[in-house]
Symmetry: C2
Subunit: 245 residues, 2 copies
Amino acid sequence: MRDPASKKDVALEDMASGCVGCVTRSLCLGEGLNQQQLKGLERIITIRGPYRTGQAIYRLEERFNSLFIIRAGTVKTESVSQEGNNLVDGFFFQGDVFGMEAIGSATYEHDAVALEETWVCELPFEQFESLCQFVPRLQHKIMLLFGQKMRHTNQSIVHGRCQSVEQRLMGFLRMLCQKSVLQDEKCRSSVQLVMTKGDIASYLGLRPESLSRALRKLQSRGIIRNHGKRVEVLNVSAVSSEVCK
Amino acid sequence: MRDPASKKDVALEDMASGCVGCVTRSLCLGEGLNQQQLKGLERIITIRGPYRTGQAIYRLEERFNSLFIIRAGTVKTESVSQEGNNLVDGFFFQGDVFGMEAIGSATYEHDAVALEETWVCELPFEQFESLCQFVPRLQHKIMLLFGQKMRHTNQSIVHGRCQSVEQRLMGFLRMLCQKSVLQDEKCRSSVQLVMTKGDIASYLGLRPESLSRALRKLQSRGIIRNHGKRVEVLNVSAVSSEVCK
DNA sequence: TTAACGAATTGATCTTGGTCACCGAATGGG
DNA sequence: CCCATTCGGTGACCAAGATCAATTCGTTAA
């Protein structure tokens, strides 16, 4: 991650442009908007970054004002369980919107923490709501996003409860491959983990030890190779298929 | 439930009125709208009912067109897990909106099934989106609803994963008491279960046997009394307090 | 009323994942 | 460069909840 030639070291000029020239636009809320509408969106967003690994974009109980969209990098959101453990609620990648759980609440519900060098667009929510009044397409897009988010949660978390650890893990790897492909055309069968194994375990509702064992089992079944921070998917079709085990 | 004097036998005339005279309005999307705005909402909704116990309001893979709001009664949504079991994803009570997971999808993601005599308002989503363009307050309300829903899911499901069965069960009973209070001012410490124990177990991610044992444990601790379809909450403060066990 | 079915409960046993203890490797700060 | 700290992995053991099998209870149907 300190490698100066790494793709993660984002060109500053790419990050300075507004919505109209944004390289991430095809993934973003701005997708499908015309020039004028994009200008409207551009007027209310603020580009923020670079956040360094471990830096917070917002913190639990800070006043909620804005949604955030990732231009480059990765973010996790985490909260604190009743027992006082940290609990990772989500990972967010290029083009993803985060902060939505705070809508209708006075304050944020999580810490949002950068997992690598990260740039985001800050989208003040009140102004965004006003803009939606004038741009039906934008209103529509945010609704789609809500629906997607609910479906994803239901699929991965609710249905995850009646899956084995290995199934849930494969689902996670599948998601990671899909998201990584967006960032990086090549090597869709190998994933560089930007989060710790502990974070992944927490996200999957496991102890780190159990995740470690599950990875070992998948490796012994020839489905993956687990090299520390890099996971190779050897049997793509096994991981891709919904029904497995 | 066959008792003719039961509060569940809804007066037909109450169900015939539009939004303006609706008894459920204080719970509904229409809350806070002026007469004219309510009329707009009233124009696009259709009142449907009565649905009998077990009847579907919509089914998995049917074309998604509308959200639904409960005027009277109770609904569960359920889907099918990979292993082919039914999986209860949610319970919905008076004033609750369901069908939101299907937004942005061509078809519904669940079966929605009435658990008792039930009346709903059908809200065609496209027309609703158009209406939101003209009624900022309505757009704002639906956004709040999305945020609430996401927070609720995160709280109950995600955080539920690191709770004991008894804690999750108490959380469920707490929710049930709150919702029942809305329907029925008296006896807030006793809940008539309209869903089966099997449904509750599924919703909590348990086997029916495990739920039964958990109920017995709470009873032996003097917190509840479990009489088949009726659950009495003896120690309200224990169930109400967030942190328990 | 009785028969029949599904829901609820109970006990015995097994499995999965959690807990605890430890070690080695990687990472970051002085 | 070294040391401290965090991260990742392993084994032994334990406990919560699943599974299987049997019984009781309640509701509906005949």
